[in-house]
């Protein structure tokens, strides 16, 4: 079985840990516990009949002026950039943030995910999409387990590229 290291990055409080918990453990908690450092979760996914062991790095959320340490990306096959649809500051500078992540990781493609879909109406989500200059790959809700599986499946696919 092949193993792939993938990272979730993004501002603090956007729901990276919640997405991982939902994906790996099918759990969701309203309690917010800020992630400290790096936690690695593991889940085996099947992709086109092939099993892949995903080593999912839950990297502590950053602030605007912070960068994820370059060392974290060593050996990473894919990365997901998560933002909070309900918090403007987590997506206003998205384009630049993605460039930084690409530079640090050496990855050509970063999966962009807008989380906390459950907190907005469809119209509001459209408004957010208009503000963001780049295409959003997936809109998810860790709380309601919407598109979570899909997001990680795409991530796994990207890790194989």
């Amino acid at each position: 079985m092949i193993a792939k290291k993938v990272l979730l990055v993004g501002n603090f409080g956007v729901g990276k840990t919640s997405l991982i918990r939902q994906f790996v453990l099918n759990e969701f908690s309203e309690d917010y516990i800020s992630t400290i450092g790096v936690r690695v979760s593991t889940k085996i996914v099947s992709l086109n009949g092939e099993q892949i062991k995903l080593l999912i790095w839950d990297v502590a959320g950053t602030k605007d002026d912070e960068k994820v340490p370059k060392a974290y990306f060593l050996g990473a096959s894919a990365a997901m950039y998560v933002f909070d649809l309900n918090r403007e500051e987590t997506y206003l500078n998205l384009k630049n943030q993605l460039e930084v992540v690409k530079q640090l990781s050496g990855l050509k493609e970063i999966l962009v995910v807008g989380n906390k879909k459950d907190l907005l109406t469809a119209n509001e989500i459209d408004q957010v999409k208009k503000i963001i200059e780049i295409p959003v790959d997936l809109i998810t809700s860790a709380k309601e387990n919407e598109n979570v599986e899909d997001a990680f499946t795409i991530l796994a696919k990207q890790s194989l590229k």
Binding site: S34, I36, V38, V40, A60, Y72
Partner: protein, 506 residues
């Protein structure tokens, strides 16, 4: 907080590129989680995919990596060094390592450590606060117990002093007995003050407003000290003023307490020379007169620093010999608060090895036509007759029992005595009474337990019940009234007080 031993917070292991642990070089941290010939990826999954890509012979650092194993979590910094086939991995456990705030580099992990440190400090503070609260509760409990324990013998002393005073005595013995009564009364005030210090601090001190003769108080206080005074090298002097109105309104007991405290201090710290008390009027108008009490000694005096702290609680002048003089160190603190409660002022002037003078200035109201007599006195003319009244007295303390019986017998009361709560209950069920006096702390059944069973008495459940107790706090009184007592008598009590309370209930 720095760990005691450095080896407890790091671990150095060697693996191959496949992550198999080949050797454990040093350190004791998480030793069970790392076993030779097993994969390091089990404990450190973050190393998967990393080891094989490490640059050759170059230190590679990863901070804040979380190791979770056996329900225990470690936050670690990891330093990797690849040399050919071997990879040296140094894991530094930061979980228990705290940084001072100036060293924080503002990343999330440092904030985490700061948060953890604050959390630890808060835990310590919570423990200290708990200990402090407990100590405070213990102090209160101790004071309450001591108050009760002191009040019982004090009641006996004062009671028998009164009884002796009623006998045919020579003038000399009568004088001695009066001093005994005077000192007993002062002791009662001190016990009250120690217990009530917190109330004084809270500004809840209640002063009596009664007619007093200031000069007489000063003289009486002076005579008391003179009679106890045995040091021939120290002269005692008194000076009063005839300009001071014979009757003023104030709290005589408290004024006496202030003077006694200051005199006591003066004598305590004076080995030779003199101690004098002077009283003079410093201002007067139609409604009030301000009196200055000046207590001077030629004792050892104090430095400016000591003088500045003299009114603080539990503070005797902190000289080497302070233990020699004993005392709780509460006296001057209480004096200051008492003077303050009387809208007066107290100042001190002192010079080391020369002496000390305390100036107390208190404004007293003058007597108007409407002024009441001292509130604790019961007017003879308004007294009801207790003759023939049937009273049950339940008290296990034989000496106090005799005193109370003596007082009641003088009033020609028909008295029945019970020596404990159970006996009182049996008597109350068979005999008729006009009133019952129950001591609170009695064997078998306590007074407060007994009163709560009042409704079940076969007789006497409509008569007034008086609580007799050494628990002399307002809280206790309120509680006793709440559970069914008609009134409360605190020990030690004056004869008139007891009779007044009984009359008030009948």
């Amino acid at each position: 907080m720095t760990p005691a031993k450095i080896e407890n917070v790091f671990l150095e292991v060697i693996t191959n590129q496949q992550g198999i642990i080949k050797n454990i070089l040093a350190g004791k941290f998480a030793i069970e989680e790392f076993v030779v010939d097993t994969s390091i990826f089990e404990t450190c999954p973050f190393l998967f995919g990393t080891l094989e890509l490490l640059p050759e012979k170059e230190s590679f650092l990863m901070e804040g990596m979380v190791i979770t194993s056996k329900n225990k979590e470690y936050n670690t910094d990891v330093e990797l060094f690849k040399d050919g086939e071997e990879i040296t991995i140094l894991l530094h456990n930061r979980t228990s390592v705290y940084k001072v705030i100036t060293e924080l580099n503002q990343n999330r992990n440092d904030l985490f450590f700061m948060k953890r440190e604050i959390s630890e400090k808060n835990k310590e503070l919570a423990i200290l606060r708990k200990a402090s609260d407990k100590a405070n509760e213990e102090k209160s409990r101790f004071l309450a117990i001591m108050s009760h324990e002191v009040r019982n013998p004090l009641n006996t002393i004062l009671g028998y002093t009164n009884m002796i005073a009623e006998e045919n005595l020579s003038d000399k013995v009568r004088e001695y007995v009066s001093y005994l009564a005077f000192s007993g009364k002062n002791l009662k005030v001190i016990v009250d003050d120690i217990l009530d210090l917190s109330r004084i601090e809270a500004g809840k001190l209640e002063l009596a407003l009664e007619e007093i003769n200031v000069n007489k108080i000063v003289q009486s206080n002076f005579i008391n000290f003179k009679n106890q005074h045995t040091n021939d090298f120290v002269a005692l002097e008194i000076s009063t003023s005839t300009k001071i109105p014979a009757t003023l309104i104030g709290d005589g007991v408290r004024v006496n307490q202030i003077l006694a405290n200051l005199m006591n201090n003066a004598l305590k710290f004076t080995k030779e020379g003199k101690v004098s008390v002077q009283t003079e009027i410093i201002s007067e108008n139609e409604k009030s007169a301000e009196i200055r009490f000046k207590i001077t000694d030629t004792g050892r005096g104090m430095t400016d620093e000591q003088t500045a702290k003299i009114f603080e609680e539990y503070r005797q002048t902190e000289l080497d010999d302070n233990r020699v003089f004993g005392g709780a160190g509460l006296g001057l603190s209480i004096v200051k608060r008492l003077v303050g409660a009387m809208n007066g002022s107290i100042t001190v002037a002192s010079k080391l090895n020369v002496g000390t003078t305390f100036y107390v200035e208190i404004p007293f109201k003058k007597v108007l036509n409407t002024v009441k007599k001292p509130i604790t006195e019961v007017e003879k003319s308004t007294k009801k007759s207790l003759q023939g009244k049937r009273i049950l007295l339940a008290d296990d303390d034989l000496l106090n029992q005799k005193i109370t019986s003596h007082i009641l017998n003088k009033e020609e009361v028909i008295i029945t005595v019970a020596k404990n709560g159970l006996e009182a209950l049996e008597i109350l069920n068979v005999q008729d009474f006009d009133l019952a006096i129950l001591d609170i702390n009695m064997p078998e059944i306590t007074g407060d337990t007994l009163i709560q069973q009042k409704a079940t008495f076969k007789k006497n459940n409509q008569i007034p019940f008086l609580a007799l107790t050494g628990n002399a706090t307002q809280e206790h009184k309120e509680n006793y009234l709440k559970i069914g007592f008609t009134d409360v008598i605190f020990k030690p009590y004056k004869f008139d007080e007891l009779i007044g309370k009984i009359e008030g209930c009948l």
